[in-house]
Amino acid sequence: MPKQTPLNAAHRAAGARMVDFGGWDMPVNYGSQIDEHHAVRKDAGMFDVSHMRAVDLAGPGVRDFLRYALANNVDKLKEPGKALYSCLLRQDGGVLDDLIVYFLREDAFRIVVNAGTTDKDIAWFRALLADHAPQVHLTARDDLAMIAVQGPNARAKSWQALPGTEAATANLRPFFGADVAAKQGGVFIARTGYTGEDGFEIMVPATRAEATWHALSAAGVRPCGLGARDTLRLEAGMNLYGQDMDESVSPLASGLAWTVDLASPRDFVGKDALRVHPPTQALLGLVLLEPGGVLRAHQKVNTAHGDGEVTSGTFSPTLGKSIALARLPVGIAAGDIVKVAVRDKQLSVRVVKPPFVRHGKVLVE
């Protein structure tokens, strides 16, 4: 029996088509996922992301602990509320998960991890804490629901739907979050997302999830399912854990070198392995140049430097073409034309540097 978010009944009442996603019963669309995609690019859409888990770490020395536990450097977090994207690595450099860490106070950080990896991550953190920082306390926030409101009009419509939040978040810069608990009974709003558009990710007590969802809907924010979430994140050139990277690959072969700080003297889990094993592959974007099908995960890419593989592929509603992320041999660069095996055909694709789309604008040829 898949798990349900606090918004399950609201999705079903809205006619959502539900699927099992990482053990959770989630909406894939409420009709047309392409229409939902365009709503986010042009106006405002919302996603139930309550299956993702907020994990609070609190106690003296929590920053030192995270400096060691995460591949990105939490020393970049100087102002309270600032967020940082990071990989969580194994000792051998494989990617356990990707996550966002928020600096709340010097003794309190919040991490948001993927749904399918929550139990694994918490067990990993608990074991690391026991060895390195037993005084730091971990709390999995099962009591919170999370709604991502995304699109050029997302912030304005959120303020309209949630009175009292505008004052606390109007000056919030991208990749910052703020507690608006005093006014809204425990609401955390961050200017983050997974679509390449402006917007908020809003954490509320699970008991208030439905009221928040309906208020956003009444303000004209369109409910969107995981189908649109996938095409939006792929256009935005953002990786999906379990598909574009996992425990068997290095972040350096996953387009995530920018998040891994190998230069500083700081030691962190996985660092030695990454230094010893330079990547032989890189994650790049593909744009299909001819008709014949849709790029999909696991299709083989044929290049002059050897074979590669599509890790995520779809039809891009914004470009009107099929696009993909693919792991390609080092030596292949943006601008190259390579072939992808789609059923019995070899289709031409152009290699591009992701993202494909940001803030409603197409960035690739």
Binding site: I34, G293, V294, T314, F315, P317, S322
Partner: protein
């Protein structure tokens, strides 16, 4: 669920409708298009191809996934609907109007072996 009674169905979610001249139009059911989601690519068989019953004969791809379309009865392909290859969303809009290909059935009585609307509706319930 929308399952018109003027045609027959295969368990693999194709519909087949006899035309006055004895040829048979083939498409996918409303249930199938809804399960696939927004269609973005359709590949149809070439005219003249001889299909066995149950043979993979066309491909429909949605944003989510690719799926084969099987010939509900054996026969020769006598026409294909180019409107759906240029605008795959027509199948989402009206799956029973947007036929994919037309067969001249090898056995004129072959449709009688397929499911009627009531039986198909029961199979997808």
């Amino acid at each position: 669920m929308n399952v018109p009674a003027d045609r027959k169905y295969a368990e693999s979610h194709e519909w087949a409708r006899a035309r006055p001249d004895g040829t048979v139009d083939v498409g996918i059911s409303d249930h199938a298009q809804a399960a696939l989601g927004d269609l973005v690519f359709i590949e149809l068989p070439v005219v003249g191809r001889k299909l066995a019953a149950g043979e993979a004969s066309a491909i429909v791809e949605s944003v989510k996934a690719a799926s084969d379309v099987y010939a509900p009865v054996a026969g020769d392909v006598v026409a294909v609907n180019d409107d759906v290859t240029s605008a795959p969303e027509k199948v989402n809009e009206d799956a029973y109007e947007a036929w994919l290909f037309r067969l001249k059935p090898a056995d004129p009585d072959a449709l009688s072996k397929l499911l009627d609307a009531a039986a198909y509706e029961k199979s997808i319930r």
